[in-house]
Amino acid sequence: MNLKKLIKNLKADSRPEKKYKKELWRELDRRFDEIYPGAVKQFLPRRAFVTAVVIVLLFGVGSGAYAYESPEVVEGHPLHFLKDNIEKIEGSIKFTPEQRAAWHLKMQERRLAEGEWFAEKNQVKKGVFEQGINEMHSGLAECQKIEAKEKRKQMLEKLSDMEKTQIEMLQKIKPELPEYSQEMIDFMIADHTRRLQEQVNLLADDERGNFAPIQDRRFRIMQISPPMPGASNSAEVITASDLGRFTGGNVRIIFIGN
């Protein structure tokens, strides 16, 4: 008598039917909901909590920390999604206009650092500058919502200081860049100047901080110039009609530059 074979046969003969197992589970499943009616609801937040902890851990270590800290991680980099998500999470826990304005300011500072890092390598990441400029506008919009006048003024001062830093940085790197990159920056600044002026006009005189002299300087250096000969209407070249629109009709033709 082969014992191994005997046990094997025995186990095969005593195997329960799968169909019955399924039926019994269906019954237990139904009873579970009756006995523990809140269990499913309790389960979901716990799962969400576990997921959140995993995300935090994931972002808190290794590649997440690297992505967040490194200025070279910008759009197009494989780790950019990590950086983007961490920043979004960070932004999602800012609840007051003051906190949100401060967060936009911080984001602008980060974009600036990224732009500078690439500029040192004679590269221009257009998206980085655009994002930085958008952060400035979002920060200004949040500032308008701050009710406490003193706090609003303080935040506006910080934002205008940041604007000043941004201009200084762009002026520093611009001469080192190829001509087409310089033109691209000019185009961005022209658009930014127009948008910024709309917001600055809404501020009280004592709240304008560095914005007023910066904007004045920008408009001062804008020279009346005929459209560039042979220039097509591309992103790099600003046509007279475009520039007229950017400035809201105050200046007919603008050329941004030193």
Partner: protein, 182 residues
Amino acid sequence: MNKRDFKRFYDKNYERIYRFVFFRTGADQDLAEDLVAEIFLKALEKFHSYDPDKSESAWIYTIAKNHLANYFRSKYFRDVEPLDVEVWWQDETWRFIDQEKDVQIFYGMLAKLNSKEQRLVTLKYIEGYNYKEMSKIVGKPVSALRVATHRAIAKLKKIAENYELKEINQKSKSRQPAREEI
């Protein structure tokens, strides 16, 4: 406490508990299914008190033992202890088995082991528990269980060899008269 945990628990233990009940109810499939359903319903009602870190499979095994003891008490109107249930096939149950030859042979050989050895062999080789789980069920260290189980299965192997020899002898004896006739 959630349904997913209970499902995992059910999937892990269903087959073992079914086999445990099946071999103690005279290999009666319908009866085994009914009892297993009752056992898991009991387990579901008490599942909030189940701690997998402490008891793993021992918890449901104890429920099954107690439930079977209750069943036999009500069936035979006599006092049955849960411990009796573990070796129940020795007397009352296996005499009802007449349809499964392998089961009869196995029980016949198993009956030659003592109750502790029977328990170890069935836990390990029929119900499929590992030594860690057996340790929780039996309440003995893993190393001691491993040695004891090996001894028990070695003993059973010898019994099986003897059984085989007996079978061969019986067959050869049954052939001899036929030769004489020729």
